[in-house]
Symmetry: C2
Subunit: 411 residues, 2 copies
């Protein structure tokens, strides 16, 4: 039986493939994925391999620590402490208490638990096409996937950044109305959560003052604010470590995941001591514990990713290559009538096309040309570019050429 | 600053320590943990290191696959398929569709989502001191930790196996009443979930017919049944791969976690195709996806654990060593007045003492003697013995000697 038939027999349908004829990838090298026939694909999609596929330094860190010790965090270990300290520093110690989990979903679920315990409120406000994860709770906060008829009435949505850009005061008015609805229904406002590049809402740089205005309103209703940095974090936007830092705000909780261990399942949440204490109190001291979270091997993987980002100056490089890529895309696709807008920052860019079917076709065609990209946005009309941080100008050139060729045929 | 003070400053309080003066463990070797002073401890607690701490075969599998490829499961890869097939076989293909996650909590959360989608009911029944995980949803199904005032009214509890042993018909009557309460409140019965060694309810072998009777009742109300094998699975009970198999039942969903990757964060859920299809339908096709779940490296770790269990005949060995240990404990502690009962099966045994403070003291004293054990049960009065599967008779002898010495002083 073919690998495809065997998989269809034994795996859940939710584990969908990226392409009509799924790729059978057997090897990864830096920004390249290689299939079972030896064909090489430039990977412009997989942000998990943050410092490059099969990065030898991360693998060495994992192997070395695995040979020494891998156990839970109810014993003392240097790695988890060092990691928590370095993450705290990355927020200028504004958020200096860490919890470690295995996935972004777990970190966001815990963030919601803390927000609800701290505020004693239940209501949550999210952007209208947001995705924050797959636990029962966080699926509710993921209108991209959660069918409207499933959405509980303690969840309210407000539009993505585009609406704010169009009319700021109307936008804030909408937010106020949703918040007041939550209060009138007795839920109160527990939290607002947003991903700092608004990926599934279509990929936008944070409009100036966007988070600042929302944070101010949410806090005026007694809510807390969560920055979901699972996709935008670890320097991907090319200037600072975390996306929210672009709007000079400080969230109450920061969550991180995907790229944190370069593929090793590790995630984390940063907050302030008082928030954690609210959770402990609400749970009578039986507070959150995660068996795998922050174990010495996961922490070693995460520490090595931080080391590599610094040693190889990858955040600055992501800024430079990202700016170059964006400029080249704008220049090359200027005349293309299918292209509505080119957006984003650093190594997280989006190309909105005028028709989702063109976006889907571009994604397939580019794969056949050896370049892997994704799609996103409320209508799935945005080509999503989110390569490993080791992406260089030569890769950007190849990407721009391929996009240009494919879109010329489609338009 | 000491590692302890640094940790207290930067980590959440829920990440509690096992001992009054926490151990600073730096190395693991098979059934041994070694602290920063070089002191060796016999590890009779950490089941995550299922095939032994720092097992070189698991590390080699992880390193080899990490050097080849680690990416998500939206591409085809042999490892995830092979792993799903082998897990299906371990249930005699009764449960032949797999979903992969990172933690037991995630697997149980997904199980609850599937149960609710499939039955279109909301109510859940759990044992009265159960622990199933830490997501918002699963914390509700964990009365061991979730304060009663936090428990939602769609959660009902029934007593642990001891009550069933005392009076079977009264027990089933209680179950019926709770189920009918859920129906009367409009929730209906979505699921029953239990761990197959009833760890936090005090560690019990499945009483003959216990699961069978409960499953029959739950199904008669249209509910499904979930076997949480996160602790009892992977042959720990020494006879079969999964704990529930001791009662000749077949659950609708099986979840697994902790020991699955010998410390690498990986977990899974097995069920039938129709159950998964109900979830897909309920979620309009936007079904569950987990970025890290089932990646080639996690799958390689899990496959190597399955290989080692088979090659080294560890399930049979766990049965033999476990029987020997239980017999020696019973013989040696027969006269000890503090010992109420010695229970459990395979390498998951419990010694119930007559006073929780004695249990706490025994745990501390044994650590000072170089043996690590845990405690559990509704009153935390049960010494919990749950060593790696590579535990041998010589280790059992050392353990029995140490317990005997410590309990003699305490009693």
């Amino acid at each position: 039986m073919s690998i495809l038939s065997r998989r269809e027999k034994h795996l859940g349908n939710g584990q969908k493939y990226f392409y009509k004829k799924p790729l059978h990838i057997v090897k990864g090298e830096d920004v390249w994925l290689i299939d079972d026939k030896g064909k090489r694909f430039l990977d412009v999609y997989n942000n998990v391999a943050h410092v490059g596929h099969a990065n030898p330094r991360v693998i060495e860190a994992i192997t070395k620590q695995s040979n020494a010790l891998n156990t839970n965090t109810r014993y003392l270990h240097e790695n988890i402490v060092k990691l928590a300290e370095r993450l705290a520093v990355s927020t200028q110690n504004h958020l200096d208490v860490a919890y470690f989990c295995c996935s972004g979903s777990e970190a966001n679920d815990l963030a919601a638990q803390i927000a609800k315990a701290h505020t004693k409120h239940q209501g949550c406000i999210v952007l209208s096409n947001a995705y924050h994860g797959n636990t029962t709770e966080i699926f509710q906060l993921s209108p991209e996937d959660c069918p409207k008829e499933h959405r509980k009435d303690w969840v309210k949505t407000i539009p993505g950044p585009r609406s704010f850009l169009e009319n700021q005061s109307a936008y804030i008015q909408t937010l106020k109305e949703e918040a007041e609805d939550l209060i009138d229904s007795g839920y109160g406002v527990a939290c607002f959560i947003a991903d700092s590049i608004f990926s599934s809402d279509g990929i936008y740089e944070i409009p100036k003052g966007f988070l600042k205005s929302i944070y101010r309103e949410i806090r005026s209703y007694g809510g807390v604010v969560i920055a979901d940095e699972v996709q935008s974090g670890f320097g991907r936007l090319g200037e600072q470590m975390w996306g929210y830092q672009d709007d000079s705000v400080i969230p109450d909780i920061l969550t991180m995941g995907k790229p944190m261990g370069n593929g090793h399942p590790v995630s984390a949440l940063l907050t302030r001591r008082e928030m954690i204490e609210s959770l402990d109190k609400a749970y009578n001291g039986n507070s959150y514990f995660n068996t795998f979270g922050g174990n010495p091997v996961s922490a070693a993987a995460a520490l090595s990713v931080l080391d590599i980002l610094e040693e190889d100056n990858l955040i600055e490089q992501a800024g430079e290559v990202g700016s170059y890529l964006k400029k080249q895309l704008k220049k090359t696709l200027e005349e293309n009538e299918s292209v509505v807008e080119i957006r984003g920052k650093g190594l997280f860019l989006g190309i909105e096309l005028d028709d989702p079917s063109k976006t889907a076709k571009a994604m397939e065609d580019m794969m056949h040309q050896g370049v892997l990209v994704g799609k996103t946005g409320p209508k799935n009309s945005v080509i999503k570019l989110r390569p490993p941080m080791t992406f260089k100008k030569e890769h950007a050139d190849l990407l721009v050429d391929t996009i240009n060729q494919c879109l010329r045929v489609i338009s």
